[in-house]
Amino acid sequence: MSPEYRALMQRHLPDPTVFHSGEAALMPALMEWLISSGRVRSRTSVVHEVPWLGRRVDLALLNGRGLTTAFELKIGRLQRAIEQAAYNRESFHRSWVVTGNRPKSEGLDWVRELGIGLLVVQGDVVSTFVTPVIREPHPAVVRRLRTTIETRAGIADAAV
């Protein structure tokens, strides 16, 4: 475990015990995966529960190149998470669903058709079922979203 990994985990998941119930329980393993796979680096802004278009995105990333990624976490009812992820792909460059169960074929078909990604978290193991298609949202949306994430990330960092 590198010092950089430990620093990023400390920064973005200072207290894993907060994420103990419901879909939030998927967060520690997801964050470890994001950091260890290089998707979250030192210049990546990471924000939980981002208010966006009147709802909240479970986890949003903004990387150093300005690309945005959304994650919707769900234990049951994959359809609802797919719906949220489908909305997210209109604003984010990448949109993921993160679930605790292996999806049924219908859900998997929708994920593939919509071009969203699917991660299954079981225990500490994170499996990539589908990789999301990178989209190019409307520039005005991207600008607003970047500002929202940067602002929230700034507030979160200041709180730490």
């Binding site: 278009l53 209109e90 919509l114």
Partner: protein, 404 residues
């Protein structure tokens, strides 16, 4: 435009909406100022409203007493509630213990509050103009405090009433009489707040002489109510008009615009929201949510859902307003959403308000079938399809209410 020149379009003032009110002065007829805001943000609201009234466009304004606030128990009164009570020289209006009863408003109290309310209206501008210059500068026009106008009329304080047997109605009538007697400089308007459309009909039936009056059916959500409720409201308006009244709706959306051909003179709503309101929810307040006004369905939907409609067929969200500027719904920011909504209502009034009810019903039925067909045949995640179809379900209710 005064509230009784059909079809007048009033916007409720909110501190977050100044930009829209300032920039779209030719898209609405007048401003309705909630007394809670007028009392709590006295200088800011006064400066803004008065400077606007001093412009060439000079939109008329009226102040709504929001009096049913004081008809209920206020568990956690806000500063704006106490500010209004203090303005009326009656801090006891804020009832934190038990809910007030009609007996708590004897004649002498009603008369005193009515006089104080009239004084506030007729003196509006004398104590509220400290910030006039600041707002005049934002308008970019050379306006002076002595050009500021008084309110168009005094809206008498009122209570929410079930029907004419409700003891609150007798108190409400007393409020109107007392306010009328005190308002010698300005016309006084009765506000009739009913709990149902049939209740409104009953209440208006007791107002004998023809009047210009303001009507409000509490919580009449045009998009989430039955054809029967809407029909009751329509009948109440038609009956009032047949008795010589000129009704103006304190809250209303597109269905109210359609009732223009039934005799409704105008309607007010908040910018981006508040086309209906429950009297019990008056204590709650807040800024409008960021939503997109979907012209084809004549309602607000989330930007997510508007984008779904855009993806189904871009003509569904096509809009020629300068705020959309040909962009998809998701591209609009908060203030653009608000301005788009005001532009749309103005357009709806210009296009629809003289349409006879039968023709309006036919057009809406055709629109419903067309939109339903487009949503049903599009490839959509099932939950999204359900949501999209759900956003159209008010249309057949409207059709039934208009055709009956």
């Amino acid at each position: 435009m005064p509230p009784f020149e059909p079809f007048s379009h009033y916007l409720a003032y909110g501190a977050t909406d100044q930009e829209t009110l300032r920039e779209l002065r030719d898209m609405y007829s007048g401003i309705l100022v909630p007394a809670t805001i007028a009392a709590f943000q006295r200088q800011g609201t006064g400066g803004f409203v008065l400077s606007l009234s001093a412009t060439e466009e000079s939109p008329p304004y009226m102040i709504d007493s929001r009096f049913p606030l004081f008809q209920q128990r206020l568990k956690a009164p806000k500063k704006s509630h106490t500010a209004l009570a203090e303005l009326l020289d009656d801090s006891g209006l804020v009832a934190t213990g038990v809910a007030p009863t009609p007996e708590d408003f004897p004649d002498d109290r009603v008369v005193t509050v009515a006089r104080r309310w009239v004084d506030f209206n007729t003196g509006y501008g004398q104590q509220e103009s400290d910030n006039f210059d600041k707002y005049a500068k934002r308008l970019g026009q050379d306006v002076r405090p002595d050009q500021a106008k008084l309110p168009e009329a005094v809206l008498a304080p009122y209570f929410a009433c079930e029907d004419s047997e409700d003891p609150w109605w007798e108190r409400s009538q007393r409020f109107f009489d007392a306010t009328s007697a005190a308002a010698t400089e300005l016309p006084c308007l009765r506000v009739v707040c009913a709990l149902t459309g049939s209740g409104l009909d009953d209440l208006l039936g007791t107002v004998n002489d023809p009047e210009r009056l303001v009507v409000w059916v509490s919580d009449l959500d045009e998009h989430n109510t039955t054809a029967s409720e809407l029909l009751d409201y329509r009948r109440a308006v038609e009956n009032a008009v047949s008795r010589g009244h000129e009704p103006f709706a304190l809250y209303g959306g597109f269905f109210s615009v359609l009732l223009g051909s039934a005799g409704l003179c105008g309607a007010s709503h908040g910018i981006g929201f508040s086309e209906h309101r429950s009297w019990l929810e008056l204590p709650e307040s807040g800024a409008p949510p960021a939503r997109y006004y979907l012209r084809r369905a004549h309602r607000y939907v989330s930007q997510d859902l508007a984008q779904v409609f855009f993806n189904i067929a871009s003509e569904i969200t096509e809009c020629s307003c300068p705020h959309c500027d040909g962009r998809p719904p998701i591209a609009l920011d908060y203030h653009e959403l608000m301005k788009h909504s005001v532009w749309c209502r103005d357009e709806e009034i210009r296009v629809w308000f003289k349409t006879d009810l039968g023709s309006a019903a036919d057009a809406l039925q055709s629109e419903f079938e067309d939109l339903t067909n487009q949503v049903s045949t599009a490839r959509l995640v099932p939950t999204i399809r359900t949501r999209a179809l759900g956003a159209l379900q008010h249309l057949p209710e409207w059709v039934t209410a208009l055709k009956s």
